[in-house]
Amino acid sequence: MCLAVPGKILEATDLGISRIAKVEFGGVTRQVRLDFVPEAQPGDFVLVHVGFAISRIEEEEAKRAYDALLEFEKEMPEDA
């Protein structure tokens, strides 16, 4: 459920007990709270839902899984 959009952390600053990040979504940026992804750093991609990052995207895992799909696409020519 729920619209969660992937974005790239450009910079992060501490704000009291919380951390705020400037996250870029394809040309626009927005302030996002990093309370639930304390390990996320600038350069990481996060999934953002209602102003909070809910996960850090596992880039290596994403690449591995997507490469498997591409391999598969080569084997399986699309039928019109």
């Binding site: 729920c2 959009v5 394809g26 040309g27 626009v28 927005r30």
Partner: protein, 346 residues
């Protein structure tokens, strides 16, 4: 009586809702349930964005519009330039050469005169660029708290050249659908300026006068069938209106519709569809297929048509319906929203 009460359906509400101003189905409902029955006349019933009145051999185009922009000043314009461009465009969409505008202001007590001067200057500049003059107007002041700073209402008159017959009812099967450029810029610029969204981007409103572009298109051929500027409600609303008025089907290609990257990003974040987002400097035209390439070429030579593209065609099936071939080659409906498109979380 079973004792069951239906949840009150929106369309039978007895008070005005914000959605009535959104350009979607509710706006249409208001028109059909209040104004058309009251004013009943054949010119109004054509439901164009302007009225074309005949005086002997001359045809005069006549339009009115009101502007309630919030915020008043935004990236790419202000309520003043928006008012001038919007009125000029309503006239241009029937092929008229815009001549003169009136401007009436409802001002809220306490509104800073410096802001008012800024708006007036902006309107003067916009009018000059569009080649029109603001020849008459009016001012009223309401008590503090009764308005949003300033509301602007305009009227505009223009002259329709002979041989030009644009109407939302004239689209024909086989017509190419031409879009003058990328969609969604104005709506996103306005949303970005609103508090709470905290969306930073370089997106500016595309507010602009389209009469020069229209002239360039009509110089290629007078056989353009229909033209409209997709303002509130977005491209989806405008195309659905034309499909309904002309009783034709419209088939679009998703991969042909230009959207700027920043607009796309903002729409993803807010859960909006660019097809439903307002524009203020774009037009969509229905051109017989044999003239389409020539018209697009002429548009691309004009600064406001640099990204012009053919985005679809008129079909003779499914009259009144707008469908789109997705990037996957599947088909989906492009619908009109009931009211305002609100950013969603789901």
């Amino acid at each position: 009586m079973t004792g069951f009460v239906c949840p009150v359906p929106l369309h039978s509400t007895e008070t005005v809702l914000l959605g009535h101003g959104s350009g979607g189905k509710l706006s249409s409902d208001l028109l059909h349930s209040v104004f058309l029955p009251a004013f009943a006349n054949p010119v109004l019933e054509r439901l164009e964005d302007q009225a074309v009145l005949e005086f002997g051999s001359a045809r005069l185009a006549f339009t009115t519009d009101s502007f309630v922009a919030k915020p008043l000043f935004f990236r790419g314009g202000d309520i003043g330039s928006l008012a001038v461009h919007g009125t000029v465009n309503d006239l241009a969409m029937c092929g008229a050469r815009p001549v003169a505008l009136s401007a009436a202001f409802i001002l809220e007590e306490g509104f800073p005169l410096s802001d008012l001067r800024r708006i007036a200057d902006s309107m003067a500049r916009a009018a000059s660029i569009a080649g029109v003059t603001i020849v008459t107007g009016d001012t009223k002041v309401v008590e503090h708290g009764s308005g949003d700073g300033v509301y602007v209402t305009t009227t505009g008159i223009g002259v329709v050249p002979p041989g030009v017959n644009l109407s939302a009812a004239h689209a024909r099967p086989g017509d190419a659908i031409v879009l003058s450029g990328a969609i969604g810029d104005h709506g996103i610029a306005m949303l970005s300026a609103r508090e709470g969204l905290e969306l930073d981007g370089e997106i500016a409103s595309d507010s602009a006068p389209l009469n020069g572009l229209v002239e360039a298109m009509l110089a290629v051929t007078h056989e353009v069938h229909a033209m409209r500027d997709p303002t509130r409600g977005g491209l989806a609303s405008t195309l659905n209106e034309i499909a309904r008025e002309s009783r034709v089907g419209i088939v679009l290609r998703e991969d042909a519709i230009p959207v700027h990257a920043g607009v796309r990003g903002a729409c993803e974040v807010l859960g909006l569809d660019p097809l439903h987002v307002a524009n203020e400097g774009k037009l969509v035209a229905f051109v017989p297929m044999q003239h389409a390439a020539g018209v697009v070429k002429a548009m691309r030579r004009h600064p406001l048509g640099a990204e012009a593209a053919i985005i679809g065609r008129v079909a003779d099936c499914d009259p009144g319906m707008v469908t789109m071939r997705t990037v996957f080659g599947t088909t989906r409906i492009v619908d009109v929203l009931p009211g305002d498109q609100l950013p969603r979380i789901c």
